[in-house]
């Protein structure tokens, strides 16, 4: 009990709250505490809000705010719908070309058209860009040198359901608005198309092949 009193006194003097009220409070605290409980550590005491010592010992609010890093989940494949007698299943509309702005604008146009016509679009993404090097033969000699670098950009709009009666009209609009230098292809969406989105990991594939070979 004497230890407790000494600790309280020290903390009070440090904060310099030596008012009559405080001393009266101190006496009240010391008188109300039963004997066995005075062995508790002071951190377990949480004073009421009206107590002057409320919030004593808080320090976490003084540290700088740290945003927790969200771990990104691996992209999950949306279920592929099969076709019925009146509806097409999952289709992927692929737009590809050399000019990125034209290709992107055309894919955005197709997406907006689907929204307006009520065709449900499940996903809209880009495939990795493919670079083609155009090599020319030198006039004198057999060495080839790089003449140009062409980049093929591809954008895919994945449609989850389209009624068979809407399809000819939709295709007609899309074909009539096709810009120059852009190739369009509409085909069934397969799981292999989903796996094409990911980068190839040759080391992992080598290890898997080794594991399979051993089995």
């Amino acid at each position: 009990m004497s230890l407790l009193i000494r600790q309280l006194q020290v903390s009070l003097t440090q904060q310099s709250i030596l008012t009559n009220q405080a001393s009266a409070l101190l006496q009240r605290v010391t008188s109300s505490l039963p004997a066995p409980l005075c062995r508790l550590a002071p951190t377990n005491e949480r004073h009421y809000r009206t107590m002057p010592t409320h919030g004593i010992g808080r320090w976490k609010y003084l540290l700088p705010k740290e945003v927790p890093r969200k771990k990104r989940d691996k992209l999950q494949m949306k279920p592929i719908r099969g076709s019925t007698a009146t509806e097409y299943g999952s289709l992927s509309v692929k737009v590809s070309g050399y000019d990125m702005t034209v290709v992107e604008h055309y894919s955005q146009y197709i997406h907006n058209l689907c929204n307006r016509l009520g065709v449900r679009v499940s996903e809209s993404y880009a495939l990795p860009t493919k670079s083609t090097e155009v090599m020319l033969m030198q006039e004198q000699g057999t060495k080839m040198y790089i003449d140009a670098l062409l980049k093929t950009h591809e954008r895919i709009v994945q449609i989850s359901s389209m009624t068979a009666t809407l399809c000819p009209t939709f295709m007609d609009v899309v074909l009539q608005n096709q810009p120059e230098g852009v190739q369009l292809s509409v085909k069934e969406h397969v799981e292999r198309d989903f796996l094409e989105r990911f980068k190839a990991r040759p080391q992992l594939e080598g290890l898997m092949a080794q594991v399979n070979q051993r089995d």
């Binding site: 068979a164 399809c167 009209t169 007609d172 609009v173 074909l175």
Partner: protein
């Protein structure tokens, strides 16, 4: 007095017939209900002749020329984009080289003041590159813009390359020959889409590669036969189902009795009632 009574009786029986029919939901061939007097009962046993037709479009091959307002607007947008754009690496290097050259040619040039990295660099390398590129551009001759055959006859598929064209063929309907979309009667056991494909291949002299845009028809043209034909042959009318297709592959050579017309020229060749039914599914973009 008797006439209204009979009429009322007929109407009651007709309503009864309708109720019984809806309860039973027979698909076709309703028997034993034709004896009602005064009741108007549709005879479902009289056939409709089905035809499959192909609406083949040759899409525009080249982009249409811009109208004056469009040209002005696109020029304005290009100018705005140029003014707001940042310089590319190549342009920055050009400016850098010019600055370095100017510094070197100044009267009080001190080569020690140059930065370490720039000291031994050869100036006007970028300008040389630009000159080399310009030389190559001068040697490059562009192809003239394809205009197609001007003043071409309507049988040619390569007329009016900037607009979509529609294929019309001449068919014998009753006593006369009329221009219409290629069609052929449906045979039992095949789908209407295959009928439409057959209609194209059956046209004499037409060598065409097409892609059909869907399995479902895009339009229907239905007409009833005049009374005399209906009674004589038992044919109520004709239904024509249209399927959309697009020309793929090379343009076909001109063929007899087939025309490629623009949408504005359709009214000169098609009958008004037929054209009215076709217009809804022809997109004029």
């Amino acid at each position: 007095m008797s006439a209204p009574v009979v009429k009322m009786a007929g109407r009651c029986f007709y309503q009864l017939y309708k109720l019984s029919n809806s309860a039973g939901r027979l698909a076709s061939g309703k028997t034993g209900i034709r004896q009602f007097s005064g009741a108007v009962v549709k005879n479902a046993a009289e056939p409709w002749r089905l035809l499959g037709a192909a609406c083949v479009q040759r899409l525009a091959v080249i982009s249409a020329d811009q109208r004056p307002l469009e040209a002005k607007f696109s020029e304005l947008m290009n100018q705005m984009e140029l003014e707001r754009s940042l310089m590319s690496d190549h342009e920055l290097r050009l400016l850098d080289d010019k600055e370095r050259l100017r510094r070197r040619q100044a009267v009080d040039y001190d080569s020690d003041e140059e930065e370490e990295a720039d000291r031994d660099q050869d100036i006007v390398l970028t300008q040389d590159l630009e000159d080399a590129w310009e030389q190559r551009l001068k040697g490059f001759a562009t192809q003239p813009r394809a205009r197609g055959v001007v003043d071409a006859r309507l049988e040619r598929a390569d007329r009016c390359l900037a607009e979509p064209l529609l294929l019309l063929t001449q068919q014998e309907v009753g006593p006369e020959r009329l221009w219409m979309l290629p069609q052929t009667p449906w045979e039992a056991g095949e789908t209407l889409k295959t009928t439409a494909q057959r209609a194209l291949s059956a046209t004499p002299g037409l060598d065409l590669q097409t892609v059909f845009l869907g399995n479902a028809p895009c339009g229907l043209y239905k007409y009833r036969m005049p009374r005399s034909v209906r009674d004589r042959e038992g044919l109520t009318g004709v239904k024509v189902f249209f399927f959309k297709a697009v020309v793929s592959g090379p343009l076909p050579p001109p063929a007899p009795s087939s025309l490629w017309v623009r949408q504005s020229e359709l009214k000169d060749y098609l009958k008004p009632s037929y054209l009215e039914k076709i217009r809804p599914f022809l997109l004029n973009l």
